[in-house]
Symmetry: C2
Subunit: 328 residues, 2 copies
Protein backbone atom coordinates (compact mmCIF):
# COMPACT_ATOMS: atom_id res chain seq x y z
CA UNK A 1 0.00 0.00 0.00
CA UNK A 2 1.29 3.46 -0.92
CA UNK A 3 1.44 6.18 1.73
CA UNK A 4 -0.91 8.30 -0.34
CA UNK A 5 -3.65 5.75 0.40
CA UNK A 6 -3.60 6.37 4.16
CA UNK A 7 -2.30 9.97 4.24
CA UNK A 8 -0.39 11.70 7.00
CA UNK A 9 -3.08 11.26 9.66
CA UNK A 10 -3.52 7.60 8.81
CA UNK A 11 0.22 7.17 9.23
CA UNK A 12 0.20 8.92 12.61
CA UNK A 13 -2.59 6.56 13.75
CA UNK A 14 -0.59 3.56 12.53
CA UNK A 15 2.49 4.75 14.46
CA UNK A 16 0.33 5.33 17.53
CA UNK A 17 -1.00 1.78 17.37
CA UNK A 18 2.46 0.35 16.87
CA UNK A 19 4.35 2.38 19.43
CA UNK A 20 1.87 3.84 21.93
CA UNK A 21 3.68 4.36 25.22
CA UNK A 22 2.21 2.34 28.05
CA UNK A 23 4.04 4.03 30.91
CA UNK A 24 1.93 5.97 33.42
CA UNK A 25 4.63 8.68 33.33
CA UNK A 26 3.46 9.65 29.83
CA UNK A 27 0.75 12.30 30.32
CA UNK A 28 0.26 12.95 26.59
CA UNK A 29 1.96 10.90 23.87
CA UNK A 30 1.68 10.66 20.09
CA UNK A 31 -1.18 12.70 18.64
CA UNK A 32 -0.97 15.98 20.55
CA UNK A 33 1.01 19.17 19.87
CA UNK A 34 3.77 18.03 22.19
CA UNK A 35 4.44 15.02 24.33
CA UNK A 36 4.09 15.56 28.07
CA UNK A 37 6.03 13.36 30.46
CA UNK A 38 6.72 13.23 34.19
CA UNK A 39 10.33 13.68 35.14
CA UNK A 40 11.83 12.05 38.20
CA UNK A 41 14.80 13.94 39.60
CA UNK A 42 15.89 17.15 38.01
CA UNK A 43 18.80 16.31 35.70
CA UNK A 44 17.44 15.82 32.25
CA UNK A 45 19.38 14.65 29.18
CA UNK A 46 18.33 15.24 25.61
CA UNK A 47 20.05 14.32 22.35
CA UNK A 48 19.18 14.65 18.66
CA UNK A 49 20.47 12.75 15.64
CA UNK A 50 19.68 12.86 11.96
CA UNK A 51 20.15 10.21 9.27
CA UNK A 52 19.67 10.95 5.58
CA UNK A 53 19.40 8.42 2.76
CA UNK A 54 22.46 8.43 0.54
CA UNK A 55 24.60 9.95 3.31
CA UNK A 56 24.13 7.79 6.39
CA UNK A 57 22.50 4.72 4.95
CA UNK A 58 21.94 2.92 1.70
CA UNK A 59 18.64 1.10 1.27
CA UNK A 60 20.30 -1.32 -1.11
CA UNK A 61 22.02 -2.96 1.84
CA UNK A 62 19.96 -2.20 4.92
CA UNK A 63 16.40 -3.28 5.65
CA UNK A 64 13.92 -0.80 7.12
CA UNK A 65 13.88 -2.91 10.30
CA UNK A 66 17.66 -2.63 10.67
CA UNK A 67 17.51 1.08 9.91
CA UNK A 68 14.95 1.73 12.65
CA UNK A 69 16.94 -0.38 15.10
CA UNK A 70 20.19 1.42 14.33
CA UNK A 71 18.62 4.85 14.46
CA UNK A 72 17.37 4.46 18.02
CA UNK A 73 20.60 2.60 18.93
CA UNK A 74 22.81 5.57 18.06
CA UNK A 75 20.59 7.88 20.10
CA UNK A 76 20.67 5.47 23.06
CA UNK A 77 24.46 5.40 22.75
CA UNK A 78 24.57 9.20 23.18
CA UNK A 79 22.51 9.06 26.39
CA UNK A 80 24.64 6.20 27.79
CA UNK A 81 27.74 8.26 27.00
CA UNK A 82 26.50 10.98 29.38
CA UNK A 83 26.03 8.40 32.15
CA UNK A 84 22.27 8.46 31.66
CA UNK A 85 19.35 6.11 31.31
CA UNK A 86 17.32 6.61 28.11
CA UNK A 87 13.58 7.27 28.51
CA UNK A 88 11.52 8.93 25.76
CA UNK A 89 11.99 9.01 21.99
CA UNK A 90 10.51 11.36 19.41
CA UNK A 91 11.05 10.55 15.76
CA UNK A 92 10.48 12.77 12.75
CA UNK A 93 10.35 11.19 9.32
CA UNK A 94 10.60 12.82 5.91
CA UNK A 95 9.33 10.16 3.53
CA UNK A 96 9.35 10.16 -0.29
CA UNK A 97 5.79 9.61 -1.49
CA UNK A 98 6.62 6.42 -3.34
CA UNK A 99 7.55 4.51 -0.17
CA UNK A 100 5.20 1.84 1.06
CA UNK A 101 3.27 1.74 4.32
CA UNK A 102 4.88 -1.64 5.02
CA UNK A 103 8.36 -0.02 4.82
CA UNK A 104 7.43 2.43 7.55
CA UNK A 105 5.84 -0.30 9.66
CA UNK A 106 9.08 -2.29 9.42
CA UNK A 107 11.10 0.78 10.40
CA UNK A 108 8.97 1.21 13.53
CA UNK A 109 9.30 -2.50 14.35
CA UNK A 110 13.07 -2.04 14.50
CA UNK A 111 12.67 1.04 16.70
CA UNK A 112 10.29 -0.81 18.99
CA UNK A 113 12.62 -3.82 19.29
CA UNK A 114 15.56 -1.88 20.70
CA UNK A 115 13.23 0.51 22.53
CA UNK A 116 11.82 -2.44 24.48
CA UNK A 117 15.35 -3.69 25.23
CA UNK A 118 16.28 -0.36 26.85
CA UNK A 119 12.89 0.65 28.28
CA UNK A 120 12.45 3.53 25.84
CA UNK A 121 8.92 4.80 25.00
CA UNK A 122 8.13 6.47 21.67
CA UNK A 123 6.11 9.56 22.63
CA UNK A 124 5.92 11.67 19.49
CA UNK A 125 7.52 13.19 16.44
CA UNK A 126 6.49 14.45 13.05
CA UNK A 127 5.80 12.78 9.72
CA UNK A 128 5.98 14.62 6.45
CA UNK A 129 6.65 14.16 2.77
CA UNK A 130 10.18 14.43 1.41
CA UNK A 131 11.08 15.30 -2.14
CA UNK A 132 14.09 13.03 -2.61
CA UNK A 133 15.51 11.18 0.36
CA UNK A 134 14.18 9.29 3.35
CA UNK A 135 15.19 11.42 6.32
CA UNK A 136 15.10 10.34 9.95
CA UNK A 137 15.51 12.74 12.81
CA UNK A 138 15.20 11.60 16.38
CA UNK A 139 15.36 13.04 19.84
CA UNK A 140 15.92 10.88 22.88
CA UNK A 141 15.65 12.03 26.47
CA UNK A 142 17.13 10.49 29.57
CA UNK A 143 17.89 11.11 33.19
CA UNK A 144 21.10 10.76 35.14
CA UNK A 145 22.07 10.80 38.78
CA UNK A 146 25.52 12.00 37.78
CA UNK A 147 26.16 13.51 34.39
CA UNK A 148 29.46 12.55 32.78
CA UNK A 149 30.67 15.06 30.18
CA UNK A 150 33.67 15.09 27.85
CA UNK A 151 35.48 17.66 29.95
CA UNK A 152 36.52 15.92 33.16
CA UNK A 153 39.61 13.92 32.09
CA UNK A 154 42.65 14.52 34.36
CA UNK A 155 46.37 13.99 33.85
CA UNK A 156 47.23 10.49 35.06
CA UNK A 157 43.82 9.00 34.26
CA UNK A 158 43.66 5.79 32.28
CA UNK A 159 41.92 5.75 28.87
CA UNK A 160 39.48 2.86 28.39
CA UNK A 161 37.22 1.47 25.66
CA UNK A 162 34.30 -0.79 26.58
CA UNK A 163 34.49 -3.16 23.59
CA UNK A 164 36.46 -4.06 20.47
CA UNK A 165 36.67 -1.41 17.75
CA UNK A 166 36.58 -1.37 13.95
CA UNK A 167 34.01 -4.10 13.29
CA UNK A 168 31.40 -1.65 12.06
CA UNK A 169 33.78 0.07 9.64
CA UNK A 170 34.91 -3.28 8.22
CA UNK A 171 31.25 -4.36 8.02
CA UNK A 172 30.50 -1.26 6.02
CA UNK A 173 33.46 -1.94 3.74
CA UNK A 174 32.12 -5.46 3.09
CA UNK A 175 28.58 -4.23 2.48
CA UNK A 176 29.80 -1.77 -0.12
CA UNK A 177 31.73 -4.49 -1.90
CA UNK A 178 28.62 -6.68 -1.81
CA UNK A 179 26.53 -3.90 -3.33
CA UNK A 180 28.82 -3.74 -6.35
CA UNK A 181 28.52 -7.48 -6.99
CA UNK A 182 25.74 -8.63 -9.24
CA UNK A 183 25.90 -12.32 -8.34
CA UNK A 184 24.22 -13.92 -5.36
CA UNK A 185 26.02 -13.47 -2.10
CA UNK A 186 26.61 -15.80 0.83
CA UNK A 187 29.51 -14.61 2.95
CA UNK A 188 31.04 -16.68 5.74
CA UNK A 189 29.63 -16.16 9.24
CA UNK A 190 32.51 -14.03 10.54
CA UNK A 191 31.91 -11.54 7.76
CA UNK A 192 28.17 -11.55 8.35
CA UNK A 193 28.88 -10.72 11.99
CA UNK A 194 30.89 -7.65 10.98
CA UNK A 195 28.13 -6.47 8.64
CA UNK A 196 25.58 -6.89 11.39
CA UNK A 197 27.73 -4.80 13.71
CA UNK A 198 27.43 -2.01 11.16
CA UNK A 199 23.72 -2.44 10.49
CA UNK A 200 22.56 -3.07 14.05
CA UNK A 201 25.06 -1.69 16.57
CA UNK A 202 24.52 -2.81 20.16
CA UNK A 203 25.00 0.02 22.64
CA UNK A 204 25.82 -1.16 26.16
CA UNK A 205 25.74 0.55 29.53
CA UNK A 206 28.79 0.37 31.79
CA UNK A 207 28.14 -1.50 35.03
CA UNK A 208 30.19 0.72 37.29
CA UNK A 209 30.36 4.42 36.46
CA UNK A 210 31.10 5.92 39.87
CA UNK A 211 34.69 7.11 39.27
CA UNK A 212 34.62 7.83 35.55
CA UNK A 213 35.96 11.33 34.83
CA UNK A 214 34.91 11.79 31.19
CA UNK A 215 33.06 9.76 28.57
CA UNK A 216 32.03 9.80 24.89
CA UNK A 217 30.67 7.21 22.49
CA UNK A 218 32.83 6.40 19.49
CA UNK A 219 30.83 7.46 16.47
CA UNK A 220 33.40 9.31 14.32
CA UNK A 221 36.37 7.06 15.12
CA UNK A 222 38.63 6.55 18.18
CA UNK A 223 41.17 9.22 17.16
CA UNK A 224 38.54 11.92 16.57
CA UNK A 225 36.48 11.10 19.64
CA UNK A 226 39.53 10.90 21.93
CA UNK A 227 40.53 14.29 20.54
CA UNK A 228 37.12 15.65 21.59
CA UNK A 229 37.83 14.52 25.17
CA UNK A 230 41.35 16.03 25.05
CA UNK A 231 40.08 19.35 23.64
CA UNK A 232 37.25 19.71 26.12
CA UNK A 233 39.28 18.52 29.11
CA UNK A 234 42.36 20.56 28.03
CA UNK A 235 44.67 17.59 28.35
CA UNK A 236 46.78 15.33 26.12
CA UNK A 237 46.68 11.57 25.53
CA UNK A 238 48.96 8.66 24.78
CA UNK A 239 47.57 5.39 23.43
CA UNK A 240 49.22 2.07 22.59
CA UNK A 241 48.54 0.31 19.27
CA UNK A 242 49.01 -3.10 20.87
CA UNK A 243 46.31 -2.42 23.43
CA UNK A 244 43.55 -1.39 20.99
CA UNK A 245 41.06 -4.29 21.19
CA UNK A 246 40.17 -5.86 17.86
CA UNK A 247 37.77 -8.79 17.32
CA UNK A 248 38.84 -12.11 15.82
CA UNK A 249 36.38 -11.52 12.99
CA UNK A 250 37.98 -8.21 12.08
CA UNK A 251 41.50 -9.67 12.27
CA UNK A 252 40.61 -12.62 10.05
CA UNK A 253 38.80 -10.52 7.45
CA UNK A 254 41.48 -7.82 7.36
CA UNK A 255 44.15 -10.48 6.84
CA UNK A 256 42.23 -11.97 3.90
CA UNK A 257 41.73 -8.56 2.35
CA UNK A 258 45.36 -7.53 3.02
CA UNK A 259 44.20 -4.55 5.10
CA UNK A 260 45.46 -3.24 8.43
CA UNK A 261 42.76 -3.98 11.06
CA UNK A 262 44.09 -1.15 13.25
CA UNK A 263 43.19 1.41 10.60
CA UNK A 264 39.56 0.34 10.97
CA UNK A 265 39.78 0.40 14.77
CA UNK A 266 41.44 3.83 14.97
CA UNK A 267 39.65 5.75 12.24
CA UNK A 268 36.62 3.73 11.21
CA UNK A 269 33.86 5.12 13.37
CA UNK A 270 30.26 4.05 13.97
CA UNK A 271 31.39 1.67 16.71
CA UNK A 272 28.99 3.15 19.31
CA UNK A 273 31.33 1.79 21.97
CA UNK A 274 31.99 3.87 25.10
CA UNK A 275 35.37 5.57 25.42
CA UNK A 276 36.09 6.91 28.90
CA UNK A 277 38.73 8.07 31.33
CA UNK A 278 39.01 7.02 34.95
CA UNK A 279 41.70 6.66 37.63
CA UNK A 280 44.55 4.53 36.29
CA UNK A 281 43.79 1.46 38.43
CA UNK A 282 40.03 1.62 37.88
CA UNK A 283 38.37 -1.80 38.19
CA UNK A 284 36.50 -2.51 34.98
CA UNK A 285 35.89 -5.10 32.26
CA UNK A 286 36.81 -2.44 29.71
CA UNK A 287 40.12 -2.37 27.84
CA UNK A 288 42.75 0.09 29.02
CA UNK A 289 44.37 1.57 25.91
CA UNK A 290 46.41 4.51 27.22
CA UNK A 291 46.77 7.40 29.64
CA UNK A 292 45.84 11.02 29.87
CA UNK A 293 48.94 13.26 29.85
CA UNK A 294 49.48 16.99 30.22
CA UNK A 295 49.60 17.80 26.50
CA UNK A 296 50.13 16.33 23.03
CA UNK A 297 48.46 13.35 21.33
CA UNK A 298 50.66 10.32 20.82
CA UNK A 299 50.34 6.78 19.62
CA UNK A 300 53.00 4.19 20.50
CA UNK A 301 53.57 1.29 18.09
CA UNK A 302 54.55 -2.29 18.89
CA UNK A 303 58.25 -1.38 18.78
CA UNK A 304 57.78 1.45 21.29
CA UNK A 305 58.04 4.22 18.69
CA UNK A 306 55.97 7.25 19.61
CA UNK A 307 54.32 9.42 16.92
CA UNK A 308 51.78 12.22 17.05
CA UNK A 309 48.25 11.34 15.91
CA UNK A 310 45.79 13.59 14.17
CA UNK A 311 42.00 13.49 14.61
CA UNK A 312 41.42 11.49 11.44
CA UNK A 313 38.10 9.79 10.84
CA UNK A 314 34.75 10.82 9.53
CA UNK A 315 33.60 14.44 9.33
CA UNK A 316 30.67 15.78 7.34
CA UNK A 317 31.26 18.33 4.54
CA UNK A 318 34.97 17.45 4.37
CA UNK A 319 35.63 15.80 1.06
CA UNK A 320 38.98 14.16 1.84
CA UNK A 321 37.85 11.49 4.26
CA UNK A 322 39.72 8.49 5.56
CA UNK A 323 36.92 6.54 3.97
CA UNK A 324 36.98 8.83 1.01
CA UNK A 325 33.76 7.70 -0.58
CA UNK A 326 31.65 7.75 2.57
CA UNK A 327 29.28 10.62 2.78
CA UNK A 328 29.64 11.91 -0.73
CA UNK B 1 32.84 30.44 2.28
CA UNK B 2 31.79 26.89 1.49
CA UNK B 3 30.95 24.48 4.30
CA UNK B 4 33.72 22.16 3.11
CA UNK B 5 36.24 24.83 4.22
CA UNK B 6 35.27 24.64 7.88
CA UNK B 7 33.92 21.05 8.05
CA UNK B 8 31.38 19.64 10.46
CA UNK B 9 33.38 20.40 13.60
CA UNK B 10 34.05 23.97 12.47
CA UNK B 11 30.33 24.38 11.94
CA UNK B 12 29.51 23.03 15.40
CA UNK B 13 31.98 25.55 16.91
CA UNK B 14 30.38 28.35 14.91
CA UNK B 15 26.92 27.38 16.15
CA UNK B 16 28.24 27.18 19.70
CA UNK B 17 29.64 30.70 19.45
CA UNK B 18 26.42 32.03 17.99
CA UNK B 19 23.93 30.29 20.24
CA UNK B 20 25.74 29.17 23.42
CA UNK B 21 23.18 28.98 26.19
CA UNK B 22 23.97 31.32 29.05
CA UNK B 23 21.48 29.95 31.56
CA UNK B 24 22.88 28.33 34.69
CA UNK B 25 20.24 25.60 34.27
CA UNK B 26 22.20 24.23 31.30
CA UNK B 27 24.68 21.70 32.71
CA UNK B 28 26.04 20.64 29.30
CA UNK B 29 25.06 22.33 26.05
CA UNK B 30 26.25 22.17 22.44
CA UNK B 31 29.35 19.99 21.95
CA UNK B 32 28.65 16.96 24.11
CA UNK B 33 26.84 13.68 23.35
CA UNK B 34 23.61 15.03 24.79
CA UNK B 35 22.49 18.26 26.36
CA UNK B 36 21.91 18.16 30.10
CA UNK B 37 19.50 20.59 31.70
CA UNK B 38 17.95 21.11 35.12
CA UNK B 39 14.20 20.75 35.20
CA UNK B 40 12.03 22.71 37.59
CA UNK B 41 8.76 20.97 38.45
CA UNK B 42 8.04 17.55 37.01
CA UNK B 43 5.80 18.09 33.99
CA UNK B 44 7.95 18.19 30.95
CA UNK B 45 6.83 18.97 27.38
CA UNK B 46 8.70 17.99 24.26
CA UNK B 47 7.84 18.51 20.60
CA UNK B 48 9.57 17.78 17.29
CA UNK B 49 9.08 19.30 13.86
CA UNK B 50 10.73 18.76 10.52
CA UNK B 51 10.96 21.09 7.52
CA UNK B 52 12.30 19.93 4.16
CA UNK B 53 13.29 22.12 1.22
CA UNK B 54 10.84 21.83 -1.66
CA UNK B 55 8.07 20.60 0.67
CA UNK B 56 7.83 23.11 3.51
CA UNK B 57 9.80 26.02 2.16
CA UNK B 58 11.16 27.45 -1.05
CA UNK B 59 14.49 29.25 -0.88
CA UNK B 60 13.46 31.38 -3.85
CA UNK B 61 11.11 33.29 -1.58
CA UNK B 62 12.35 32.91 1.95
CA UNK B 63 15.65 34.12 3.39
CA UNK B 64 17.67 31.87 5.69
CA UNK B 65 16.98 34.32 8.52
CA UNK B 66 13.21 34.03 8.00
CA UNK B 67 13.49 30.27 7.72
CA UNK B 68 15.30 29.97 11.06
CA UNK B 69 12.81 32.31 12.69
CA UNK B 70 9.81 30.41 11.37
CA UNK B 71 11.26 27.04 12.26
CA UNK B 72 11.62 27.84 15.95
CA UNK B 73 8.29 29.76 15.84
CA UNK B 74 6.31 26.67 14.81
CA UNK B 75 7.94 24.63 17.57
CA UNK B 76 7.17 27.36 20.13
CA UNK B 77 3.58 27.36 18.90
CA UNK B 78 3.30 23.62 19.74
CA UNK B 79 4.52 24.16 23.31
CA UNK B 80 2.16 27.13 23.83
CA UNK B 81 -0.70 24.95 22.54
CA UNK B 82 -0.10 22.55 25.46
CA UNK B 83 -0.28 25.44 27.93
CA UNK B 84 3.49 25.36 28.38
CA UNK B 85 6.46 27.70 28.46
CA UNK B 86 9.18 26.87 25.93
CA UNK B 87 12.71 26.32 27.30
CA UNK B 88 15.34 24.37 25.34
CA UNK B 89 15.81 23.86 21.61
CA UNK B 90 17.84 21.24 19.73
CA UNK B 91 18.21 21.62 16.01
CA UNK B 92 19.47 19.07 13.50
CA UNK B 93 20.44 20.25 10.05
CA UNK B 94 21.00 18.23 6.88
CA UNK B 95 22.86 20.62 4.59
CA UNK B 96 23.76 20.19 0.90
CA UNK B 97 27.51 20.65 0.54
CA UNK B 98 27.18 23.61 -1.80
CA UNK B 99 25.54 25.85 0.81
CA UNK B 100 27.57 28.68 2.27
CA UNK B 101 28.64 29.16 5.86
CA UNK B 102 26.97 32.59 5.75
CA UNK B 103 23.60 30.91 4.90
CA UNK B 104 23.81 28.79 8.05
CA UNK B 105 24.89 31.79 10.14
CA UNK B 106 21.84 33.68 8.90
CA UNK B 107 19.59 30.73 9.72
CA UNK B 108 20.89 30.68 13.29
CA UNK B 109 20.41 34.47 13.57
CA UNK B 110 16.72 33.97 12.85
CA UNK B 111 16.53 31.17 15.42
CA UNK B 112 18.32 33.29 18.00
CA UNK B 113 16.03 36.29 17.38
CA UNK B 114 12.82 34.47 18.24
CA UNK B 115 14.60 32.35 20.85
CA UNK B 116 15.53 35.53 22.73
CA UNK B 117 11.95 36.81 22.46
CA UNK B 118 10.61 33.66 24.17
CA UNK B 119 13.54 32.88 26.49
CA UNK B 120 14.51 29.73 24.58
CA UNK B 121 18.12 28.44 24.76
CA UNK B 122 19.66 26.40 21.93
CA UNK B 123 21.36 23.46 23.69
CA UNK B 124 22.27 21.01 20.97
CA UNK B 125 21.44 19.13 17.81
CA UNK B 126 23.24 17.50 14.95
CA UNK B 127 24.74 18.79 11.71
CA UNK B 128 25.34 16.57 8.72
CA UNK B 129 25.57 16.59 4.97
CA UNK B 130 22.47 16.13 2.82
CA UNK B 131 22.46 14.87 -0.74
CA UNK B 132 19.66 17.02 -2.18
CA UNK B 133 17.60 19.17 0.15
CA UNK B 134 18.19 21.40 3.14
CA UNK B 135 16.48 19.60 6.02
CA UNK B 136 15.69 21.09 9.40
CA UNK B 137 14.58 19.02 12.33
CA UNK B 138 14.03 20.59 15.72
CA UNK B 139 13.01 19.55 19.18
CA UNK B 140 11.76 22.04 21.72
CA UNK B 141 11.15 21.32 25.39
CA UNK B 142 8.97 23.18 27.81
CA UNK B 143 7.36 22.98 31.21
CA UNK B 144 3.77 23.51 32.26
CA UNK B 145 1.96 23.87 35.56
CA UNK B 146 -1.17 22.53 33.91
CA UNK B 147 -1.01 20.62 30.66
CA UNK B 148 -3.81 21.33 28.19
CA UNK B 149 -4.38 18.52 25.68
CA UNK B 150 -6.73 18.17 22.70
CA UNK B 151 -9.01 15.84 24.60
CA UNK B 152 -10.80 17.92 27.24
CA UNK B 153 -13.52 19.73 25.23
CA UNK B 154 -17.01 19.34 26.74
CA UNK B 155 -20.48 19.75 25.27
CA UNK B 156 -21.59 23.34 25.81
CA UNK B 157 -18.05 24.79 25.72
CA UNK B 158 -17.39 27.76 23.47
CA UNK B 159 -14.87 27.43 20.62
CA UNK B 160 -12.35 30.28 20.41
CA UNK B 161 -9.47 31.39 18.17
CA UNK B 162 -6.85 33.78 19.51
CA UNK B 163 -6.29 35.79 16.31
CA UNK B 164 -7.42 36.28 12.71
CA UNK B 165 -7.00 33.35 10.33
CA UNK B 166 -6.00 32.87 6.70
CA UNK B 167 -3.31 35.56 6.39
CA UNK B 168 -0.50 33.02 6.10
CA UNK B 169 -2.25 30.98 3.40
CA UNK B 170 -2.94 34.12 1.37
CA UNK B 171 0.66 35.25 1.93
CA UNK B 172 1.85 31.93 0.57
CA UNK B 173 -0.48 32.30 -2.44
CA UNK B 174 1.02 35.75 -3.14
CA UNK B 175 4.59 34.52 -2.73
CA UNK B 176 4.01 31.78 -5.25
CA UNK B 177 2.61 34.25 -7.76
CA UNK B 178 5.64 36.46 -7.14
CA UNK B 179 8.00 33.57 -7.75
CA UNK B 180 6.59 33.04 -11.22
CA UNK B 181 7.13 36.68 -12.19
CA UNK B 182 10.43 37.60 -13.73
CA UNK B 183 10.15 41.37 -13.33
CA UNK B 184 10.98 43.32 -10.20
CA UNK B 185 8.38 43.22 -7.54
CA UNK B 186 7.07 45.86 -5.13
CA UNK B 187 3.71 44.88 -3.69
CA UNK B 188 1.55 47.23 -1.61
CA UNK B 189 2.07 47.14 2.16
CA UNK B 190 -1.05 45.10 2.97
CA UNK B 191 0.17 42.33 0.71
CA UNK B 192 3.66 42.49 2.20
CA UNK B 193 2.08 42.07 5.63
CA UNK B 194 0.34 38.86 4.51
CA UNK B 195 3.56 37.45 3.07
CA UNK B 196 5.39 38.25 6.28
CA UNK B 197 2.72 36.39 8.24
CA UNK B 198 3.59 33.33 6.16
CA UNK B 199 7.36 33.74 6.36
CA UNK B 200 7.64 34.78 10.01
CA UNK B 201 4.58 33.67 11.99
CA UNK B 202 4.26 35.19 15.46
CA UNK B 203 3.14 32.67 18.05
CA UNK B 204 1.51 34.25 21.09
CA UNK B 205 0.77 32.95 24.56
CA UNK B 206 -2.75 33.33 25.99
CA UNK B 207 -2.89 35.58 29.03
CA UNK B 208 -5.49 33.61 30.96
CA UNK B 209 -5.48 29.83 30.58
CA UNK B 210 -7.06 28.76 33.87
CA UNK B 211 -10.39 27.41 32.55
CA UNK B 212 -9.42 26.26 29.07
CA UNK B 213 -10.60 22.69 28.46
CA UNK B 214 -8.69 21.81 25.25
CA UNK B 215 -6.24 23.54 22.93
CA UNK B 216 -4.34 23.11 19.64
CA UNK B 217 -2.41 25.43 17.37
CA UNK B 218 -3.78 25.85 13.87
CA UNK B 219 -1.12 24.48 11.55
CA UNK B 220 -3.12 22.37 9.07
CA UNK B 221 -6.18 24.66 8.86
CA UNK B 222 -9.10 25.44 11.20
CA UNK B 223 -11.36 22.63 9.92
CA UNK B 224 -8.69 19.94 10.30
CA UNK B 225 -7.42 21.14 13.65
CA UNK B 226 -10.92 21.55 15.10
CA UNK B 227 -11.61 18.00 13.91
CA UNK B 228 -8.56 16.84 15.90
CA UNK B 229 -10.09 18.36 19.05
CA UNK B 230 -13.51 16.78 18.26
CA UNK B 231 -11.97 13.34 17.60
CA UNK B 232 -9.84 13.32 20.71
CA UNK B 233 -12.53 14.81 22.96
CA UNK B 234 -15.27 12.60 21.41
CA UNK B 235 -17.56 15.57 20.81
CA UNK B 236 -19.03 17.53 17.89
CA UNK B 237 -18.74 21.19 16.92
CA UNK B 238 -20.74 23.95 15.31
CA UNK B 239 -19.03 27.07 13.95
CA UNK B 240 -20.38 30.25 12.34
CA UNK B 241 -18.90 31.61 9.12
CA UNK B 242 -19.68 35.19 10.15
CA UNK B 243 -17.71 34.84 13.34
CA UNK B 244 -14.46 33.58 11.80
CA UNK B 245 -12.08 36.53 12.26
CA UNK B 246 -10.36 37.72 9.09
CA UNK B 247 -7.87 40.60 8.81
CA UNK B 248 -8.52 43.72 6.73
CA UNK B 249 -5.44 42.84 4.67
CA UNK B 250 -6.82 39.42 3.77
CA UNK B 251 -10.25 40.82 2.96
CA UNK B 252 -8.82 43.51 0.67
CA UNK B 253 -6.45 41.16 -1.14
CA UNK B 254 -9.06 38.43 -1.57
CA UNK B 255 -11.48 40.96 -3.04
CA UNK B 256 -8.88 42.13 -5.58
CA UNK B 257 -8.06 38.57 -6.54
CA UNK B 258 -11.75 37.58 -6.66
CA UNK B 259 -11.17 34.88 -4.04
CA UNK B 260 -13.22 33.92 -0.98
CA UNK B 261 -11.25 35.01 2.12
CA UNK B 262 -13.10 32.43 4.23
CA UNK B 263 -11.61 29.62 2.19
CA UNK B 264 -8.16 30.76 3.31
CA UNK B 265 -9.31 31.13 6.92
CA UNK B 266 -11.01 27.72 7.11
CA UNK B 267 -8.64 25.54 5.12
CA UNK B 268 -5.42 27.49 4.64
CA UNK B 269 -3.29 26.40 7.56
CA UNK B 270 0.08 27.59 8.87
CA UNK B 271 -1.64 30.25 10.98
CA UNK B 272 0.03 29.13 14.23
CA UNK B 273 -2.87 30.74 16.07
CA UNK B 274 -4.29 29.02 19.16
CA UNK B 275 -7.68 27.31 18.85
CA UNK B 276 -9.23 26.37 22.19
CA UNK B 277 -12.39 25.48 24.02
CA UNK B 278 -13.53 26.93 27.34
CA UNK B 279 -16.79 27.56 29.20
CA UNK B 280 -19.20 29.47 26.96
CA UNK B 281 -18.94 32.79 28.85
CA UNK B 282 -15.18 32.62 29.26
CA UNK B 283 -13.60 36.09 29.57
CA UNK B 284 -10.99 36.44 26.84
CA UNK B 285 -9.71 38.71 24.07
CA UNK B 286 -10.00 35.74 21.71
CA UNK B 287 -12.77 35.40 19.12
CA UNK B 288 -15.64 33.05 19.90
CA UNK B 289 -16.47 31.21 16.68
CA UNK B 290 -18.81 28.42 17.78
CA UNK B 291 -19.77 25.82 20.36
CA UNK B 292 -18.98 22.24 21.22
CA UNK B 293 -22.01 19.97 20.71
CA UNK B 294 -22.65 16.29 21.35
CA UNK B 295 -21.90 15.05 17.85
CA UNK B 296 -21.54 16.11 14.19
CA UNK B 297 -19.47 18.89 12.64
CA UNK B 298 -21.44 21.81 11.28
CA UNK B 299 -20.80 25.19 9.77
CA UNK B 300 -23.57 27.82 9.67
CA UNK B 301 -23.47 30.41 6.88
CA UNK B 302 -24.58 34.05 6.98
CA UNK B 303 -28.14 33.07 6.08
CA UNK B 304 -28.36 30.58 8.95
CA UNK B 305 -28.00 27.52 6.71
CA UNK B 306 -26.27 24.64 8.43
CA UNK B 307 -24.03 22.21 6.51
CA UNK B 308 -21.63 19.47 7.58
CA UNK B 309 -17.95 20.28 7.23
CA UNK B 310 -15.15 17.88 6.41
CA UNK B 311 -11.59 18.09 7.74
CA UNK B 312 -10.24 19.71 4.60
CA UNK B 313 -6.88 21.42 4.64
CA UNK B 314 -3.31 20.31 4.33
CA UNK B 315 -2.18 16.73 4.79
CA UNK B 316 1.13 15.20 3.74
CA UNK B 317 1.21 12.33 1.18
CA UNK B 318 -2.35 13.11 0.02
CA UNK B 319 -2.18 14.38 -3.52
CA UNK B 320 -5.61 16.03 -3.74
CA UNK B 321 -5.03 18.97 -1.44
CA UNK B 322 -7.10 22.10 -1.03
CA UNK B 323 -3.91 23.84 -2.05
CA UNK B 324 -3.33 21.24 -4.68
CA UNK B 325 0.22 22.19 -5.55
CA UNK B 326 1.50 22.47 -1.99
CA UNK B 327 3.68 19.65 -0.89
CA UNK B 328 4.27 18.05 -4.24
Amino acid sequence: MQLSKIGEFGLVKLIETKCAASSSDVIAGIGDDAAAVKVIGNKFLITSDMMIEGIHFDLSFTTFYQLGYKFLAINISDILAMGGNPEYFLISLGIPETYKVSDIKELYSGIKKIGDEFGVSVVGGDTCASKHDLTLSGTLTGTAKRIITRSGAKEGDGIFVADTLGDSAMGWHLLRKRKKKVKSFSPPSHRLKLMKKHLMPQPAQLKNRSRITSMIDISDGLLIDLTHICDQSRVGAIIYRDKIPVSGELEKTAKNLKKDPLKFALKGGEDYVLLFTAPRRYKTDAFKIGEIIRRGRFIVDSKGRKTTFKPEGYEHFVTTQVQSDKGT
